[in-house]
């Protein structure tokens, strides 16, 4: 091998690195390496002058490779590879040594941190000296998008994408789209009616020529990679043809089965054949197989008999549809924390959750907009609203703040007072978090105009007593103990990732955070991307958020998809596996190990399909003859890196 000419650039990152790591010593140590012809340090390598100095040094010293010792490659690998390119080198001749996140920020002992920074930098020097110049692999793009989840997030993303000219497949597991927003009565901070603002968008989804809506459907499997995914979607039988259904309600009138209606959270009842609510999209009845007497005209068959449109088909089968798409938006939303976890708070007859309260307040809801307590359908005169139920309680429940409950509790108290002007509303809170346009003013109006009594403190005891609920607490502002005899309690339960989030994350190979929400690629700079290229996140599935924030994120995700799919060709990393044919015996161990079916045998030797290969290296670790290796992460390179890491 001809002698390498590597340059090493050590960044101070202001004092972020330099305070703990002796950057000059790192540069000096690298200068002592045979392959290193230039090593220097600078206060901010990523600044304009910093980058220019890298470019200039490459030219001045005829460098053929570059190591930048700085922050995580996630932040500036791209920056410095661009610099290498600008100076006439191949991008892959630049490597990052992470001496900030993995060194200076986690150690205090200067001598030890400096030694470690030297080891990390040296291993990058070793690695880069054997890097090959590689050209990116260009691939075609499928200009269609899969959106998973039909809440406001999925609806907004689908409409934005379809209006940008892309075909969209929107998959919703329930019988209708709308998500939780369609269950809400009025929405803060303006108190406009939720259905009034959402229904037109739902209708637009069914009318839009570019959108294929699949309700009662689930994504079962996703294969492929950015620009070229293939999804298998299970479309469950609903036994009613939505194109024929005239939503006349004749079928439900004769159905003998009565079960709780989930859409009203059990406050109302429905039949086995039902429409979730009048504005449901698709506008069709659906037959709930689990409660139907038997999908069999011999057993019952009443609904089929009365359906004049002939929309009911007991023989309808679930089927699997395969869709080719280029990108995916995941908008699977949230669920409320279950009352099962609450102990004494849980499942008191006259304690409802926030969504049940929304249904009660809704003019089209089961109580026709009247606030009535569940036990006796009487109007409650003393209502206690409890915030942070299940939130901000790391010892027993969720440690995070669910973010929206301060606002919707204020809204609930106001709605209650508007419905029951002579009623008394009490709110137990820990803190009021009302950041947002018009939010603080909204809470103030709840307190002042609508005379809601805010009590700062957690509830200490709560139990049912003679048709009332006794609520004990301590108002930490006045230092007084409070005891309220309430007719009804409304619990602001924590927001959780929706049931099934773990499964969909697994299917899509995207991560979840410590609380189970979908993990964004970077909390600040890439908030709507997942770590997997081509998969984007929107709405409450990524973390608690209200409607304005959900819509913003959904539009942002759609914009990201447009950026991606507007490219004529996509670029894939060329760090894929290659076979050293001379050594290959055709044992097929790598063929079996490859998770992507990217390897096959040709004339008794393994051959890699560069487009399918993801460069994971499982093949290389499986081959007993070192006949297959990943470009720029070869066994030889790793061995030399191990040597470097153990050199001091």
């Amino acid at each position: 091998m001809t002698k390498k000419r590597t340059g090493v650039f050590v960044c101070h990152c202001g004092s972020n690195i330099a305070a703990t790591v002796d950057v000059a010593a790192v540069a000096a140590a690298m200068a002592g390496e045979e392959s290193v012809v230039c090593a220097r340090d600078y206060v901010y390598m990523c600044s304009d002058p910093g980058q220019n100095s890298v470019i200039q040094a490459i030219k001045d010293n005829q460098l053929d490779s570059v190591v930048v010792s700085c922050c995580s490659p996630n932040l500036h690998e791209k920056t410095f590879r661009e610099n290498a390119k600008a100076a006439g080198l191949n991008d892959f001749t630049c490597e990052i040594a992470n001496i900030r996140e993995q060194c200076s920020w986690v150690h205090k002992d200067r001598a030890k941190a400096t030694a470690k920074a030297i080891r990390i930098s040296l291993s990058a020097v070793k690695r880069v000296s054997r890097n090959l110049a590689l050209e990116p692999i260009g691939i075609g793009v499928t200009r269609r998008v899969l959106v998973v989840g039909g809440g406001i997030a999925g609806i907004q993303a689908s409409l934005d994408l379809a209006n940008s000219g892309f075909e969209v497949v929107l998959v919703e597991k329930n019988a209708t789209i709308g998500g939780h927003m369609i269950q809400l009565s009025e929405t803060f901070p303006t108190l406009d009616c939720s259905q009034c603002i959402l229904s037109p968008k739902m209708v637009e989804i069914t009318r839009h020529p570019k959108i294929t809506l699949m309700t009662s459907s689930e994504v079962q499997e996703v294969t492929g990679y950015v620009g070229n995914f293939r999804a298998k979607i299970l479309k469950k039988a609903t036994y009613v043809d939505p194109d024929k259904c005239k939503i006349c309600d004749d079928c439900a009138k004769v159905c003998p089965v009565v079960v709780p209606n989930q859409y009203d959270l059990g406050i109302s009842a429905r039949r086995a054949i039902y429409i979730p609510f009048a504005q449901a999209i698709p506008a069709s009845y659906t037959l709930d197989e689990s409660s139907c007497l038997g999908l069999n005209p011999v057993v019952c068959g009443k609904c089929k008999d009365v359906c004049e449109a002939g929309a009911i088909d007991y023989d309808m089968q679930s089927r699997t549809v395969t869709e080719e798409i280029g990108a995916i938006v995941v908008a699977t939303g949230f669920d409320l924390y279950s009352q099962d976890h609450l102990g004494e708070y849980g499942h008191l007859e006259n304690a409802v959750d926030g969504l049940q309260f929304e249904r009660m307040c809704s003019a089209s809801g089961p109580t026709k907009g009247k606030v009535l307590r569940p036990s006796d359908h009487k109007e409650p005169k003393d209502v206690v609203f409890i915030q942070c139920v299940g939130s901000r309680d790391p010892a027993r429940h969720c440690s995070y703040c669910s973010k929206i409950c301060c606002m919707y509790t204020a809204k609930h108290a106001r709605l209650y007072k508007h419905h029951v002007p002579d009623g008394r509303a009490y709110v137990f809170y820990i803190d009021i978090r009302s950041g947002g346009k018009g939010y603080e003013e909204f809470v103030q109006r709840t307190m002042e105009d609508d005379e809601t009594l805010y009590l700062r403190g957690r509830v200490s005891k709560i139990y049912e007593d003679n048709g009332k609920i006794r609520v004990y607490g301590n108002d930490t502002l006045s230092g007084q103990n409070v005891e309220i005899e309430a007719d009804m309690v409304v619990l602001a339960l924590a927001m959780q990732p929706s049931a099934g989030t773990a499964e969909i994350a697994k299917t899509l190979k995207i991560g979840r955070d410590k609380d189970g929400f979908l993990q964004e690629a970077h909390p600040k700079l890439r908030p709507v991307e997942s770590v997997t290229a081509g998969i984007f996140l929107a709405g409450a599935a990524q973390g608690p958020k209200d409607i304005p924030e959900t819509v913003s994120q959904a539009s942002a995700a759609a914009a990201k998809v447009v950026t991606l799919l507007s490219q004529p060709r996509l670029i894939r990393s060329p760090t894929v596996a290659r076979v050293r044919s001379r050594l290959c015996t055709g044992c097929e161990m790598c063929v079996d190990a490859c998770p992507y079916d990217a390897i096959h045998l040709e004339n008794g030797k393994a051959v890699v399909n560069d487009v399918l290969c993801e460069g994971c290296g499982t093949c290389s670790a499986t081959c007993v003859r070192a006949a297959i290796e990943v470009k720029n992460a070869t066994p030889l390179q790793i061995q030399e890196m191990i040597g470097a890491v153990l050199s001091l």
Binding site: Q102, K506, D513, L646
Partner: protein, 147 residues
């Protein structure tokens, strides 16, 4: 006694830490962003997947003087490459058997599953590992004897 104690405080175990890019390296980045402190004994080598860590790398690390080797990947079932960490687990289980067979304390080789959200866990894995290695003392069974 005094001398022995001094020797113990001087002994700094050397650890090679193979971290997968998607989970564990990201998790260790998170430890950094959150400024969670841990000992500087483990030097990371970021690989694409824990499944790419060949048994040879581990043996060679011991041969080159490592007192401990860590391989850390995504949680089982969460592998960015679908099943790479299953391969890692199988292969590396074999390595630990082999190490025991040739008389290297099994505590010197460790696998962990650290997700991108588990900065705290990464710090703890390293902290515990260093602590355990301090008790074991230097590894010389597989270390190449330099003349």
């Amino acid at each position: 006694m005094h001398e022995q104690q001094q020797q113990q405080t001087q002994y700094e175990p050397k650890i090679v830490a193979f971290l997968c890019k998607w989970c564990s390296s990201a998790g260790s980045d998170l430890a950094g962003v959150s400024r969670i402190q841990y000992p500087a004994n483990a030097t990371p080598i970021t690989v694409m997947c824990s499944g790419s860590v060949s048994p040879q790398y581990i043996l060679s690390a011991f041969n080159k003087g490592a007192d401990g080797v860590l391989v850390s990947g995504c949680h089982i079932g969460d592998c960015h490459y679908m099943e790479g960490n299953y391969y890692a687990r199988r292969k590396l289980y074999m390595v630990s058997e082999l190490l025991q067979f040739i008389g290297v304390e099994p505590e010197r080789f460790r696998m962990s599953w650290v997700s991108a959200a588990e900065g705290t866990k990464y710090a703890k894995v390293v902290r515990d590992f260093v602590e355990d290695l301090r008790h074991l003392g230097p590894q010389d069974k597989l270390k190449a004897q330099r003349p």
